[in-house]
Point group: C2
Chain length 384, copies 2
């Protein structure tokens, strides 16, 4: 955090944002944690609670059809518009664990609710880690009690640690602007160890958010939905926004989007073995779907990703990936004059590339990670 | 070729196939070559001609919307049903080269036609190599004349060499069965050097092929269209089938399919830095499109590909890739009992994996390459 929280050139926060200690949660929120042995070291069970009796909230959950147990519990049981608390653990995804996994995730909500004097439906649950392994509930449940016993207003860093698996640096912030405070914690989507595929993000604020569902969806669409590490979608992805409204002030325009975009770019930069992040902008597409398809094809092309890693300004690979995404289109060749690929070869940690299609007015952009030896090492040399 | 041409367990050739020297082309065909300095070493210009005045033929061309000049010439100018000759060069893809590239590809057809006493429209052209670099026609045109001067019935190996770029071994065969002979030459799709993305394949036979377009399309659909090295589609992919009918006999059932499938698997196994090949079979999909989508998502998942490389029988990665491809589907979790991933961890050079979805009766399979350090090295450490 030496350069401040907003350190990507791709993020444009509103003016006058003050950075606070990220351990300090937004007013009205407390968090705690425990270590119960689910992962090698560090806090692995966490609890986040809003002390205000009324809270507006919204959840965005993975659309992976094989969603994990905690996601299913959030879908089925949790009152998503009024989430008071969240219980988390890192080390076990509780995914592909069948009925027992579902019962275990539900039991985590129940235990947290009991410890906090809430209803089960007021507690969201999120989990991340290895897939297909039963959750050791004998360890998890006492951990929830322990976390409930050490809840603190400066528990932001503890809660942030409780959701990380193999992130190389914490991804969190506490910011003040326009009379409101917003705090947020995220974990990376990089599968630094296999099956640790999950992106989790929690956002707390004392601002008034009139329609948290719409606000969160809009901010996620321009941040977490615009990044790709390796084109995979996790079974566990979860984003939770909670707003007490206690400040009586609205969120400054663009602040939520900026926070989530910076966190999303941190996730890309901390992807499994990632060295560099890229941003591809496609303009002149025939329609929005085409712009998205071409941008994602470029961002997910292993040839483009290795070029980003190897600092090779190889525009031919961009032309090929785009052409493959435009199968059936009646068009001329994509020439060098339609492509800006120079920054692929630059020394910058962030590289912008652009493609102009000349087929219409639609545009789209995607942020992506490179593909290097570290990715292969981390993903191939693991023993199940 | 120590174990014979049909050495994949996934290929089931008809009984009684006799293998001949792959240098020996099917009766009625001759080939020649030249070295003109387009690539580091080896024959780089080739010519293949059918001496019979009447030949039935079919071309399958890439659907990449940014198709290379030779593909556009084949589409626009060549009489695809009656291709007498093919002129090829390896070292330069003549892709993203604009109007000059188109004129150059057309001039190659014209020069070959003049040397052979044919019409320009009777000569197909195929090229492979770096993208975006003008073709040195001063070298190529005399090379075509030289190749025309050394045409020989045992020119199969020379022609095979003329289409390869960095293939580690030749991919060709000459086979005899049911009173007919079939010869074939292919080059790998692996981008062993960047931008050398092309898959080329030429097939010659003296069999009677009543509908070569339908026969070739069917065989390509079950072979080259079912493989993926890194999910990319080349600007230059071309498959040509030529049949003289001189034997008076039809092709034995399944022979063309078996030849193309073996060649396609060779292409996967010789992909850029590939160590192992996989085959994923998805059954129980709701419909054919879903089966295809899920199989390709698994085959192109970098996590599955690194697991194949690292011999990690990691079924959770298959579940995740499938779930991501089934976004929006109303279904249960994909559990371990739906997935066979054991062979990912085996010592075999070929690994079968299977996924049963239980959603319907549709099925699809895809052959794919692993993803290892060699891929990254070959694609990242190249300097343009």
């Amino acid at each position: 955090m030496t350069d401040g929280f907003f350190r990507s050139r791709w993020v444009d926060p509103p003016a006058g944002v003050e950075e606070l200690d990220p351990a300090q949660l937004a007013p009205g929120f407390r968090a705690g944690g425990a270590y119960v042995g689910l992962k090698g070291e560090g806090t692995d069970v966490g609890l986040l609670v809003c002390d205000a009796e009324w809270v507006d909230s919204a959840l965005v959950l993975t659309r992976n059809a094989s969603a994990a147990a905690p996601v299913r519990v959030c879908r089925d049981v949790v009152d998503q518009a009024h989430v008071r608390a969240a219980v988390v653990q890192s080390g076990n995804a509780n995914a592909e664990t069948g009925e027992q996994g579902y019962a275990d995730a539900l039991a985590m909500c129940g235990r947290a609710a009991a410890a906090l004097g809430l209803e089960t439906a007021q507690v969201a649950v999120a989990e991340t880690g290895v897939i297909g392994v039963p959750l050791p509930m004998d360890a998890v449940l006492p951990g929830i009690d322990e976390a409930a016993a050490n809840l603190a207003a400066d528990g932001g860093a503890v809660f942030s640690a409780a959701i990380t698996t193999t992130d190389r640096w914490p991804k969190h912030c506490t910011l003040r602007a326009g009379g409101v405070t917003i705090s947020a914690q995220a974990k990376g989507a990089g599968m630094i160890q296999p099956n640790m595929a999950t992106m989790l993000c929690f956002v707390q604020t004392d601002a008034v958010v009139a329609d948290p569902g719409a606000a969160l969806r809009r901010a996620v669409d321009s941040s977490f939905n615009r990044i790709t590490v390796d084109g995979q979608m996790s079974t566990n992805d979860t984003v939770l926004l909670q707003a007490t409204g206690a400040s009586g002030q609205p969120l400054p325009a663009g602040l939520l989007e900026a926070v989530l975009l910076q966190l999303a770019i941190e996730v890309v930069r901390d992807g499994e073995g990632t060295a560099r992040a890229g941003r591809v902008e496609v303009t002149g597409a025939a329609d929005q779907a085409e712009a998205e398809r071409v941008a994602r094809a470029i961002a997910n092309s292993p040839l483009v990703k290795t070029a980003l890693y190897g600092r090779d300004p190889n525009w031919g690979r961009i032309a090929q990936a785009a052409g493959a995404a435009l199968v059936g289109a009646d068009m001329d060749e994509i020439g060098a004059d339609s492509i800006d690929a120079t920054e692929l070869g630059a020394e910058t940690p962030e590289a912008d590339i652009a493609l102009r299609l000349g087929r219409g007015e639609a545009r789209a952009h995607v942020y992506f990670a490179d593909l290097g030896h570290e990715y292969v090492t981390l993903n191939a040399e693991y023993t199940t």
